[in-house]
Amino acid sequence: MEILQLLISGISQGCVYGMIALGFVLIYKATEMVNFAQGDLMMFGAFISFTFLNLLGWPFIPGVLATLGLMAALGVLIERVLLRPMIGEPPFAVLMLTIGLGFMLRALAGAIWGNKPRALATPFSGGVIRFGELVIGYENLAIVAGTAILCGLIFLFFRYTRLGIAMQAASQNQLAAFYVGIPVKRIFALVWGLSAIIAATAGILVAPVSLIDPLMGSVGIKAFAAAIVGGFGSLPGALLGGLIVGIAEQFAGLYLPAGFADTSAYLILLLMLFVRPEGIFATLQRKKV
């Protein structure tokens, strides 16, 4: 029973990691840049939803939709203003830029909303379901359900819409995408918007469990490890990597000495790099140089 309980909280935590990892992988696949501000985008999304839902008192659904819309716009803006001028610069410079962006978002959030942790009140806050000894919080159910719905929508988007297929095309062969008339630069901006939406969703779902504060984005590093475990460049891999890290963390917290919970993600990463450096779902084809 204890194991089941841990498994459930591990899965819900893992879903959050998985969603952030998804954002990492999306941007990496499309633009070959790693966005280290992904966790901070999640934090920012959580604060914006806090503003709409709690400070302005909007109903839940419109508040969430407004948050997602605003975050998508922020993602597009970041790409347009900060990253597009970096095309052709070395990857190292871009990486530093995204790390700096993370610092800026944290400072900005601290300046706007203060550094005090805040709790987000949502319709699914507080309630629990009991199955005998098993206790499942509504928040945890909401995380799992939200992740499943989001992943389903992303899958349908990439599989069946013209824009989704064009995004895949642009990430598989940028030059050919240009030649068939896909506006690759605009696609990049949209990819940023999409991954900001995913980050915001993760933020809204995790906020009722862990409080919102400007430093909550630091889970982004664990999610980054999860993305590598899953095989950087694979969307299902990112989700699976997140689940593995989340579950391992819960078990390490109970069965291993103190401190192992927080380092378990990196231990798994280290192990993975020894055993199978390309990750669980390695992308089939190596990039032609």
Binding site: R162, I165, A166, Q168, A169, Q172, N173, L175, A176, A177, F178, Y179, V180, G181, I182, P183, V184, K185, L284, Q285
Partner: protein, 255 residues
């Protein structure tokens, strides 16, 4: 008749290296024009400069009377120039069907479905593989897919970069035939870059010969075929000479 495509004194650089040194050429509607030359002559750079993948430092590119110099490649594609790049750049993880549909990305009209059938008519070997990821196709099929994808744009002008590269002689023949058929049946103007001079001269109307970034010869393909320089250096015919041996001292007339 006005030229559909006109390059004037185009100079394009790779960093400090001048890849093409003042190239001027014209392509008239419904012609097949080929650009011949050895490795490093700058043929591919000419195509890249036209489609906007590279920007020229000097000179102008005009398409249908409008200047398209240094536009982004996706905008150039929207004007009706389809570039089939060297080395059959397909989208490896998308299916054949999706690859072709991406070729029609810029189009909003209802003719896309009909054109899909048209492409499968021209390339029956692709028709059986619609759902297969393009990365699993053979080299020849990938080349056909790349040409088919370009056709989906309903282009006014198709830029073909070494379509025969790495293909068996039988496939080269097949591709050449398709290019000719697309030109006569679909009224697509072609600018063809080739190292396979024999094949290119066979199917095109007008030819340019490039060496180290310059156009050194231009003439109708009928006359190019009979020019001694072309015969010797590009078609590999040998001049027996008076003494029954090859004369090694002959130099190209443009040197």
């Amino acid at each position: 008749m006005d030229a559909l495509l006109e390059l004037q004194n185009v100079e394009t650089y790779y960093g400090p290296i001048m890849a093409i040194r003042g190239v001027s050429l014209k392509v008239f509607p419904q012609q097949i024009v080929s650009v011949l030359g050895a490795n490093g002559a700058g043929k591919t750079t000419v195509l890249k400069t036209i489609s906007g993948a590279m920007d020229p430092r000097k000179g102008s590119v005009r398409f249908g009377g409008d200047a398209i110099t240094a536009r982004d490649p996706d905008q150039v594609a929207r004007l009706g120039i389809a570039h089939v790049p060297e080395g059959r750049e397909v989208f490896p993880f998308l299916s054949v069907d999706e690859n072709l549909r991406m070729g029609a990305f810029t189009r909003r009209d209802s003719g896309v479905r009909g054109d899909l059938d048209l492409v499968y008519d021209y390339f029956p070997s692709l028709a059986g593989q619609r759902k297969l990821a393009a990365g699993f196709l053979s080299g020849g099929q990938q080349q056909m897919l790349a040409i088919g994808r370009a056709l989906m744009l309903r282009p006014k002008l198709m830029l073909l970069d070494e379509p025969s590269l790495g293909l068996s002689p039988r496939l080269v023949h097949e591709i050449a035939e398709i290019i000719q058929r697309l030109n006569t049946e679909q009224k697509v103007t072609m600018l063809l870059v080739e190292q396979n001079a024999k094949m290119a001269l066979e199917i095109s109307h007008f030819g340019y010969v490039m060496e180290v970034g310059r156009v050194v010869m231009q003439d109708s393909c009928e006359r190019l075929k009979s020019a001694t320089d072309i015969q010797e250096f590009y078609l590999g015919m040998k001049d027996e000479g008076v003494r029954g041996r090859r004369r090694w001292k002959v130099r190209k007339t443009w040197r």
